[in-house]
């Protein structure tokens, strides 16, 4: 086993609530995960499970209360701002909403240039790199001078991926990157992410509510429920033969696109629910 790229150990995240006496809201109750270089860990769960919070904590965007986050052996749990900025070379992000994640007032060129310029890349080198990036995400080079509003959801998501790739990071946190996209676009963006991983060796922390999406892109899968990881393991094992009742419930709840098999799954689910008593 190689040394993990990312190690999250017993992480606790709490959001302060409004008001003086209000108790803080605990979004994560001691979560532990590991990601190896070049690996995809799929993080699956329903709304309020804390999956997005875990991703944001790794990015330094959520208030960590306890536990630790180590990246390439270094403790970055409470990294200072200056260190965080350096970390941006290594850890990047692709968000869910392709509309809000690109500044509508900036050209695609300016959007892609920003991380490069901040990292001290010269304007000329940045231009070259941007061409390379657009090529990598299969967008035409003349996209540079256009505004985000000229692109469809899938194309915007490609631009967001290009921005994440700009500094050649070692890990990308993908927060529901395809859930706002149409079915066919979704499949193409996932394939793009996989091929980028194969060519660059980047690791993904892939957050999604959709088990079939996670199953498609992940090497390993962790299932979250109410701020905790209830099951974690190889993708095949977790998605085909889950052990935890919640994972099983999740799996059986997702309808299969085939009438006969869906009828089976439905019966199976009814049987299961009768066993565990409704919930």
């Amino acid at each position: 086993m190689t040394t993990p790229l990312l190690e999250v150990d017993d992480l606790v995240v709490e959001f302060p609530m409004r008001g003086l006496v209000a108790k803080p809201f605990r979004a994560l109750h001691g979560v532990s995960i590991e990601i190896a270089p070049g690996e995809t860990l799929g993080l699956v769960g329903e709304s309020g499970s804390g999956k997005t919070t875990l991703g944001r904590a790794v990015l330094g965007l959520a208030p960590v209360r306890g536990g630790s986050i180590r990246f390439a052996g270094e403790d970055i749990t409470r990294a200072r701002r200056s260190r965080r900025r350096e970390l941006s070379r290594d850890i990047q992000v692709v968000f869910q909403d392709p509309y809000s994640s690109l500044n509508p007032a900036m050209t695609i060129g300016a959007i892609l240039e920003e991380p490069l310029r901040v990292a001290g890349v010269s304007r000329r080198e940045a231009r070259d790199r941007i061409r390379e990036l657009l090529d990598q995400v299969q967008l035409p080079v003349d996209a540079i001078d256009r505004m985000p509003r000229n692109f469809s959801g899938g194309q915007r998501q490609r631009i967001a991926i290009a921005r994440a790739l700009a500094l050649r990071p070692r890990m990308i946190v993908c927060d529901e990157p395809v859930s706002a996209l149409d079915l066919s676009t979704q499949a193409r963006v996932l394939d793009l992410l996989i091929s980028i991983q194969e060519s660059t060796g980047v690791a993904y922390l892939f957050v999604s509510h959709d088990l079939s999406v996670v199953r498609h892109i992940s090497h390993r899968v962790a299932v979250m429920y109410r701020g905790e990881i209830v099951e974690q393991g190889d993708a095949v094992q977790v998605t085909d033969a889950p052990e935890h009742p919640y994972t099983r419930r999740l799996l059986m709840a997702a309808p299969v696109p085939d009438p006969a098999r869906q009828a089976d799954r439905r019966r199976e689910r009814e049987r299961f629910l009768a066993e565990v008593g409704g919930r």
Binding site: R146, H219, A254, P255
Partner: protein, 594 residues
């Protein structure tokens, strides 16, 4: 299906957006207002060149001299030239407004930026202070200031600037807070962009336009207020100003009422030009000018690119009177160029009694537009251009009145997003009772009993509590159950469900699908189920219609579509589902070691 075959369509043409300034310069109203305002500014600066008279020189012989004599606009009660006072007076008003504006912006913008961006204690403190300033009776405060400092108008206007600053603060703060939630700010943070740079590049640009609008309004308010103070007689009587002139005119209102006109007009035109500029700018920002009620479309139609036709993909249906029959439906929206954008282009749909009919397609396929046409609830501007919709033999397109009667009684509707589809101001029970009383003629208590039964039927554990709850007090899954209860409350024959489970979690979706299935079986309703999810289709539907770019590409029974899809688009969609896609094996050490 390879990447290139269905690859992302060619990029949309670059829309001529341009900078805000350029867009603004294309608005005749904005340009006109700016020119007028600039002329007034120029006239007051160049006053010595425009009139030979000293605004303060009093000539006893000229007291209340009539206009068009030696004095073009006459002279006032002290024999001073009205035109000269008007021109020089502009200086006092404009400078006063400028001072107030600069002070307000200098205080409001930085505090608003910091409070909105960093929030925490500074936000609480500054918001509290802003509320304090806003509750002060402004005029009384200014009068108090004058009593302390004497009639120094520019100082007074600076204090007024402080009183105006909460407006700037609040605008800046709320704009920043709105931007701060945008994901591109998070993305910039993750990219290592510093806060100063984020504010400079991403935040300031958003705040700029609203601030200019607010500033033009505030300048107007300041001019009026200054004139008001001078009119009250607490101003500086040694310099000419529009307010002083009004004060003088007021004392002579019975002798020379026309003297009221000039200073009033000057104030009106100056403030009016500022207001018009602000309005024009707001329209330019929002990209809308108020359009009147649209007449029938005149221009050309823009029709979506044609879809490939595969003859045998539309399978024949057994004859007999269907519950719903849509034939040749075309729906269009007015386009910016005066033409019509067609979003539904010749759709045929046939739903039998008791049949669950799935309408599947991606975004832009026109599936929801078709559903809204049946309900007669197309968004503003949308219009059925052609075709017919027959419900149980009644043509819904030509007989709008009957359709209104059918809506809610014989045709039920389940929306997509549960929360936004409930009126936040009314209890859930009220929203259930109101339509039942109208359609079924029930009394209040009868309707209440029925509503409680329905809530129980849709699987709500404590119907009474839910009945009295407001929408924000229940979960999304519960809200969707309430909406379903509402849709079936008047025993409809047809249920139109527009992506009824898309906004729900998977486990809740499964429960809602169960509920829909059992309700449908129990009441043998016809159901039109609009969805993009083939799993949902497989779970519920008897028949399926697949749409692409406003047209039907394939229809048949669910089994036919899933096992024998004939249209390439249907096949592509089915291939895109990930259910049976390969699972990646665990990473081997060698692979990981690269």
């Amino acid at each position: 299906m390879t990447e290139s075959a269905v690859s992302a369509p060619a990029l949309a043409p670059v829309t001529s957006g341009g900078g805000l300034t350029r867009r603004l310069l294309r608005e005749p109203m904005a340009v006109g207002a700016l020119i007028v305002f600039a002329l007034i500014v120029l006239a007051s600066i160049l006053a010595p060149l425009l009139t030979p008279w000293d605004p303060n020189r009093a000539e006893l012989s000229d007291v209340l001299a009539p206009p068009f004599g030696e004095h073009i606009l006459g002279a006032d009660s002290a024999g001073r030239d009205v035109l000269a006072r008007l021109l020089y007076g502009g200086r006092a008003s404009l400078l006063g407004a400028l001072i107030a504006l600069v002070v307000a912006l200098a205080i409001g913008i930085p505090t608003g930026l910091i409070a909105g961006y960093y929030q925490r204690w500074f936000d609480s403190l500054s918001t509290w202070t802003a509320n304090l300033l806003m509750s002060m009776p402004g005029l009384i405060v200014l009068l108090a200031v004058i009593s302390v400092l004497g009639p120094r108008m520019y100082t007074v206007m600076a204090v007024f600037g402080i009183l105006l600053s909460p407006g700037v603060f609040r605008l800046t703060r709320s704009s920043v807070m709105a931007v701060r939630k945008e994901l591109y700010i998070d993305a910039a943070k993750v990219s290592g962009v510093s806060d100063v740079r984020i504010i400079g590049r991403h935040v300031l640009g958003v705040v700029r336009a609203p601030l200019v609008i607010q500033a033009s309004m505030m300048a107007g308010i300041a001019i009026v207020l200054q004139a008001g103070l001078e009119f009250l007689g607490v101003g500086d009587s040694t310099t000419a100003s529009w307010g002083q002139m009004l004060n003088d005119a007021f004392t002579n209102i019975y002798v020379a009422p026309t003297m009221l006109v000039w200073p009033g007009l000057m104030i009106g035109i100056t403030v009016g030009s500022l207001a018009l500029f602000g309005t024009a700018l707001r329209d330019a920002v929002q990209g809308t000018t108020s359009v009147g009620k649209r007449r029938r479309p005149q221009g050309e139609e823009t029709v979506p690119a044609p879809v490939e036709v595969v003859a045998e993909s539309i399978r024949p249906v057994a004859e007999g009177a269907p519950l719903l029959l849509v034939e040749g439906l075309r729906v269009g929206y007015p386009a910016a160029d005066g033409g019509t954008t067609v979003v539904v282009d010749g759709v045929d749909l046939r739903i039998a009694r008791g049949e669950v009919h799935g309408v599947v397609g991606e975004s832009g396929s026109g599936k929801s537009q078709t559903a809204f046409s049946i309900l007669g609830l197309l968004p503003v501007g949308g219009e059925v251009l052609e075709g017919s919709i027959h419900f149980d033999g009644v043509d819904l397109v030509s007989r709008g009145r009957e359709r209104e009667l059918l809506r809610g009684s014989r045709i039920g509707y389940i929306p997509q997003e549960p929360m936004s589809n409930l009126d936040p101001a009314f209890t859930l029970g009220w929203q259930l009772v109101e339509p039942m009383r109208r359609h079924l003629g029930l009394s209040r208590s009868q309707a209440r009993t029925r509503a409680l039964d329905l809530l129980d039927r849709v699987g709500i554990a404590d119907p009474r509590r839910t009945f009295d709850a407001h929408p924000h007090e229940v979960s999304g899954g519960m809200a969707q159950r309430v909406l379903i209860a509402g849709a079936v409350s008047c025993d409809p024959d047809l249920l139109i469900a527009d992506e009824p489970t898309t906004a729900l979690d998977v486990t809740v979706q499964a429960e809602v699908l169960d509920l829909l299935r059992s309700l449908q079986a129990e009441r043998s309703m016809g159901v039109m189920l609009v969805t993009h999810n083939f799993g949902v289709v497989a779970d519920l539907c008897d028949r399926v219609t697949v749409m692409q770019r406003g047209r039907v590409v394939e229809s048949g029974t669910a089994n036919e579509i899933f096992s024998d899809a004939r249209h390439p688009y249907t096949r592509m969609l089915l291939d895109s589902t990930l259910e049976d896609a390969s699972v990646r094996p665990a990473l081997t050490p060698t692979e990981a070691g690269r």
